[in-house]
Amino acid sequence: MDFNLNLILGQMVLGLVNGAFYAILSLGLSIIFGLLGVINFAHGVFFMLGAFAAYMLSEVFGIGYWPALILVPLMIGALGVVVEVTLIRSLYKLDHLYGLLLTLGLAFAIEGLIRIVFGPQGLPYSIPDSLRGAINLGFMFLPYYRAWVVIAGIILCLSVWLVIERTPLGAKLRAATDNPQMVQAFGINVPVMLTLTYAAGVALAGIGGVMAAPIMSVDPAMGTNIVIVVFAVVVIGGMGSIFGSILTGLALGLLEGFTKAVFAEASSTVIFVVMVIVLIARPRGLFGKMA
């Protein structure tokens, strides 16, 4: 093992980029789970669809990165509405496990479809011109684009957190998470709220996909690969707290980067090891509420 401080710091900054994606995805998963009681196995697939949508917009219509950042979440959100209304809605009265099975099947079907259309190989998506180049941080050259992903990811997560914690809409959402019957009795249309929450959660994954397109290879498996790690992140953070899932996502990205620098072989397993430790020491997760 070679303890090169510059290398460690550099990898940790890059780890933060992954951490931003973990945070965005686990945030969406938590919100959906909180209100719908469904673990959205298809979350990774929506992330992947976000990247493919950005790719298609650029290839077919010549629409660049910045408009895609607005358009893609709208498209993915609309797809989310369709999925919630036609498929997920019929399962609310059943055991939660059926929601998991349904979204797993959905993930297979969508990923299979993308493979049929685009093939298994990665597709290129270029970094927007305005974010080319890199900044010298002293210990590393940080590409502007990666810096943008970290900052934008954090701002995005924090604004979602603010909406949920500090606005009347968020208050209704939190109330419905707590006691849907009571909220409905107050005249709030809970079914519509469930639909929009699902749409918003997957739209977040869609934005993540657009942001990932220039730095990860745009391929059909990208969603499945990341979603399993995000499940571990969610278990570690516990689902009770929005802020907790943001923080956990970022911290685990950092840790992954650190491990990559000091003991590269373990970098793909470190998050799972942390999960095991957390489960033994604090089964409900770092920020989880008591069951």
Partner: protein, 331 residues
Amino acid sequence: MTLADMKQMTPSHPMAETALHPLGFSRARFILFVVTALAVVIAPFVLYPIFLMKIYCFIIFAVAYNLLLGYTGLMSFGHAAFWGMGAYLTAYSAANWGFGFEAALLTGTVTGAALGLIFGLVAIRRTGLYFAMITLALAQMVYFICLQSPFTGGEDGVQGVPRGSLLGLVDLNNDWNLYWLVGTILLGTIILSNRVVHSPFGQVLRAIRNNPARAKSLGYNVDRYKLCAFVMSAALAGFAGGLKAIIFQIATLTDVSTVASTEAVLITLVGGIGTIFGPAVGSIIVLSLEHYLAPFGPWVMFTQGVVFVFFVLVFRKGLLGEFQSYFKTSL
């Protein structure tokens, strides 16, 4: 209706059933067992024995999975780890340590059980959806370890696994000998699973599935029973994986990947969660689908996804489950 409610539809007095019929089966199940046995005897004259043996291994794998999901109510997404590591260790011990057929298979089974104990100790701390996510994450960890460890042979896998012979008497390199052995093991596994489900131990598991709080208040150590069921299921999954490695003479990364876990889930769902013969029906359907769609590449994945969604929405109880409630019997 919840998963638990659904299970309560299975007849309530298994002791009365088991006392009357051969091999511990109820009448309906005994008929199905005879049909299965006949199918095992006739099938190799019609279909390719290697393909049939593959189906049988997956049936045993799904029986192991169903023991956990169907009769204990725990949904694992990590069974690929037991199946895959069972396959690796069976293959490795046969290829590199000169283990014979029985010793190699035992090694795979013990590996599954040991790994199951570790997974179980961690995962039963949470229930429901968390349990599913934790087992999935643990299995992914095992996958990454296999990807990097030299003993698995990376992308090549462990190849050239000798099949050896049964008790030093029957040469298993002969596909027919091996077929009759695997067929017998399959029938034995079905008898065994029926026995376990209807044993006092199985009764406690079902009580835990239907109402864990009540089982606890009756004085049962719920976590201990869950762990026990988990280890049993993992051991049987490791055994099935080992058998597959012997038949195909190879163990690969595919066996430890998420795909294998989801296959177990899909087979169980299609056949019928919590039915004795569901895994057999599910394996035949799912593996045939894969086999005949294989030339069309990604269509396999797409079709599997559609089958998943279709069964969750329309045939949630699985094929045998639907039969069961229609004919008011248990299969």
